[in-house]
């Protein structure tokens, strides 16, 4: 940790919604190039953390630092421009447009010089769009309206759009949710393969522990707005508190023991 440069840091972040504690004493340092996964039950504070990091929510106290700068007060747009990009649990796409057009929009927002004068379907832009589609294995869907596309494809497109700006930190909110079980691994495989060409720090929320184990090199476990474990996947998943509050494996084991006895 100490030898890697710190790209993102949360210091004493607090957030409440009425009586609900969504974030309490969150202190996290993320190193450049890390693959970090966030686990925890629904309502444990994972998405709140993401929303605070991307500037959608402002913390009640504490601060967020990105690349050595305090970015707590910035909004999502400003953070996106600095290189903190995200995908969404429910893909946020332009439904009546085609997959290619969705990417053209993303390319348009990432390169705004002379955007009034440059045609949207310029050859260079189209090439960039097609290249991105190819990287995510979506060439076949280029001219299809996204409202007609299957869930997994929509997820990939959503992530591809977030990648257009070549972010330094990429946050993926439940990349495999809403995707059938046998599609999950191929999807993550595609994403990680596409990301391998970038020097990008990835933070993703995930409920499937196999995916967490395989694709992250560090895990944060959330419980009631607090980080209760922060280590490599093996250690975190073996943690008693994590087993009790997050994965539920402790309870399952107890049940098995009882059944055996």
């Amino acid at each position: 940790m100490s030898d890697a440069a710190i790209i993102l840091e949360a210091r004493d972040v607090q957030k409440r919604f009425g009586a609900v504690v969504a974030a309490q004493d969150i202190n996290i340092k993320v190193g450049l190039g890390e693959k970090l996964s966030l686990i925890g039950a629904n309502g444990a504070g994972k998405t709140t953390f993401m929303n605070i990091v991307t500037g959608y929510l402002k913390p009640d106290a504490g601060s967020i630092h990105f690349d050595g700068l305090d970015v707590t007060k910035l909004n999502p747009r400003q953070l996106t421009r600095r290189g903190v990009c995200r995908s969404f649990q429910i893909p946020q796409l332009y439904e009546p447009m085609t997959a290619l057009e969705n990417l053209l929009v993303a390319i348009g927002t990432s390169n705004q010089a002379f955007s009034l004068l440059r045609p949207a379907r310029d050859a260079a832009v189209l090439d960039q769009g097609h290249a991105l589609l190819k990287r995510f294995g979506l060439e076949g869907y280029a001219e299809r309206k996204v409202s007609e596309l299957p869930g997994g494809v929509r997820k990939l497109l959503d992530i591809a759009m977030a990648l257009v700006r070549r972010p330094k930190v990429l946050l993926l909110d439940e990349p495999t949710s809403g995707v059938s079980v046998d599609e999950k691994f191929p999807l993550m495989e595609t994403v990680m393969e596409a990301l391998s060409e970038e020097e990008v720090t990835v933070i993703f929320v995930e409920h499937d522990m196999e995916i967490v184990t395989r694709y992250s090199d560090r895990v944060l476990a959330f419980y009631q707005g607090q980080v209760i474990a922060d280590d490599d996947p093996g250690e975190v998943l073996a943690d008693k508190a994590v087993q009790k509050y997050v994965t539920g494996t402790a309870k399952a084991d107890a049940v098995e023991e009882e059944a055996g006895a």
């Binding site: 421009r81 929009v105 045609p119 949207a120």
Partner: protein
């Protein structure tokens, strides 16, 4: 130059030639059409502004504000300063309205849906209220404009309508070509994305606020052009230019046209003017009844407007082509 840019400019050039030819034909055949067409172009320009706003997900129900501002700015220029040159007046009207829109837009860019629509109505009605009471510039009667000149040339009475129509046609084509190029540009595509999902646009790093300000200012400039043009066509302007029912007609044209096609705007404006002329002639008492009924029919049966009709034809052709291709591949 990009191929699509070339195509758009070429289409504009052809449109100018056709419109000019049509002008000379109607001058010798049905002269009244020229006046109607000029007015339709004036209305169409304002509606083009609404369509630009619609592409960003907003509808203004108060474009009378910029329509009236353009008409009054250029009208006062003509009566007070004696400038009667039509192209100069058009530029003055356009700039005055664009400036007003630019000043107002940061205030209203925070709102959406009916709140945006009603705030624009409120602003246009403020202007209406002010003008009605400003007796120095005619109060509710408004004032009459001098005959326009064209770069120093004063056409004879017989050719006055033709001259103004030709200018209007050129302005309409230049304005629509420019708007089309904007719609097809990178920034235009991003603006269309605003309509679908603002959240994502912000998360991609673009400012929805800026898009709205830009659109409202463009709509202001187009509204100013339309107001100036109609002021010159009618020879008289009054505060009703800013009344909410006037704005309602602009929205009518925009809805009839849909936001996909630029030329459909002028077609629907012409349809509206023709329907107005005929019902004034044959059913003078029921013009609004016809307009209202027509509007409901359009909303029910052609929700995407006339422009979507062409889009559907195009899609149908593309689908057929694809089907044939697949058939060919299969055999």
């Amino acid at each position: 130059m990009h191929a699509s840019t070339k195509r758009t400019c070429l289409a504009g050039l052809i449109a100018v030639i056709l419109l000019v030819l049509a002008g000379f034909v109607f001058q010798h055949w049905q002269t009244w059409i020229l006046f109607t067409a000029t007015k339709a172009i004036g209305y169409g320009l304002v509606a083009l502004g609404i369509i630009t706003l619609m592409r960003g997900g907003l509808v203004s129900f108060g474009q009378g504000l910029v329509y009236c501002t353009g008409a009054y700015a250029s009208g006062l220029m003509a009566t007070r300063l004696g400038v009667t040159d039509a192209p100069v007046l058009l530029v003055v009207g356009m700039l005055a309205s664009a400036l007003l829109a630019l000043i107002v837009s940061p205030l209203i860019a925070r709102y959406r849906g009916i709140f945006f629509a009603m705030l624009t109505v409120a602003l246009s009605m403020v202007l209406y209220g002010v003008l009605v009471k400003m007796n120095a510039i005619g109060g509710s009667d408004g004032f009459t404009l001098p005959e326009p000149t064209f770069l120093g040339w004063q056409p004879s009475v017989d050719y006055a309508d033709l001259a103004l129509y030709l200018l209007a046609a050129v302005v309409a084509v230049v304005a629509s070509t420019a708007t089309r190029l904007y719609y097809d540009s990178m920034a235009g595509l991003v603006a269309l994305a605003v309509r679908e999902n603002e959240l994502r646009v912000e998360y991609l790093g673009s400012s929805v606020f800026k898009v709205t300000v830009r659109h409202f200012t463009i709509a202001g400039a187009l509204g100013g052009l339309g107001g100036t043009l109609n002021g010159m066509a009618l020879g008289h302007i009054d505060p009703l230019f800013s009344f909410w029912t006037t704005s309602g007609e602009f929205v009518f044209i925009a809805v009839l046209a849909g936001y996909i096609s630029v030329s459909a705007v002028f077609l629907s404006a012409m349809i509206l003017e023709l329907v107005r002329s005929f019902s004034n002639l044959y059913f003078p008492e029921t013009w609004q009844l016809i307009l209202g009924g027509f509007l409901i029919v359009v909303i029910v049966f052609l929700p995407g407007g006339i422009g979507s009709f062409w889009e559907r034809v195009k899609e149908g052709r593309a689908a057929r082509a694809q089907a044939e291709q697949e058939e060919g591949a299969g055999s």
